[in-house]
Amino acid sequence: MTRRALFALLAPSGVLAIGWWLYQMKPQTAGLWLAGIVLGVAMHRSRLCIAAAFRDSVLFHDTGPAKAILLALALSAVSFGWMQHQALQQGLRLPGNLYPITAGTVAGAFLFGMGMIPAGGCACSTLLRLGEGHLRFLWTLLGLTAGSLLGAYQYGWWEAVLGKTAPVHLPALLGWPLAAALEAVVFVGLFCLLRWWEQREEGL
């Protein structure tokens, strides 16, 4: 029996055994464990990589990963919008963690991107590559964990320096039809931009 076949046999058994152990302690944790495994397998088999969405678009005019991320964001906007609409209709609190977009968000995104490209991956692809056996991604994971811990520890200080502003909920500001139309325009616009950039490569 090859090592691959042995792994293919043992891995699902291990996943189910851990799932059963978690179920005994708290059924919800077992559900989250299985959902995490399914998401991980889907992300691995689809070769989804957020770093690639930016890097490959800019360097190689290969916009496939960027379009996949854009589609995922559009689907998530539609599903979260529907969930929020349903919750508000029933008089419930607005679900989800809403945070304001500030200069800190822009600066943080730039810093994260500058680290993500030389490191070879974002948070999820670091875990995926580590799972594939690329041990050098242990260093990326260490840096990611250290940075996240430091950020969480100093969050209060950053909030005080950058200023605390209230998040903007577009449907509350513009109404649901206009907010949905604005989001659709942004997504279609970004898709067209990617199509244009993809075809701009010399010789294509």
Binding site: R4, R47, C49, A51, A52, R55, D56, L59, F60, D62, G64, G120, S125, R129, E132, G133, H134, R136, E201, G203, L204
Partner: protein
């Protein structure tokens, strides 16, 4: 027809595709380039790039690594 080889084992994106692009640029029409790579996203990158530039390729899955044979027409 000449065959050249390129070893990018241990390299992560975007290095494998960039080095493949450089190596293919030096090939004469009809030559082949054999690339050995072990970074899965780079395999997809190289395949996508070959398709977009109409280079034929053959992919061999060798377990912990992949071998891509690219033919420059």
């Amino acid at each position: 027809m000449n065959t050249r080889s390129l070893n990018v084992l241990g390299e992560i994106c975007p290095v494998p595709l960039m080095r493949t692009q450089e190596a293919v640029a030096q090939l004469a029409p009809g030559d082949e380039l054999v690339v050995e790579v072990d970074f899965v996203r780079s395999v997809r990158n190289i395949m996508q790039w070959c398709t977009r530039h109409h280079y034929s390729y053959k992919l061999d899955d060798l377990g912990p690594l992949w071998r891509i044979t690219i033919c420059k027409h």
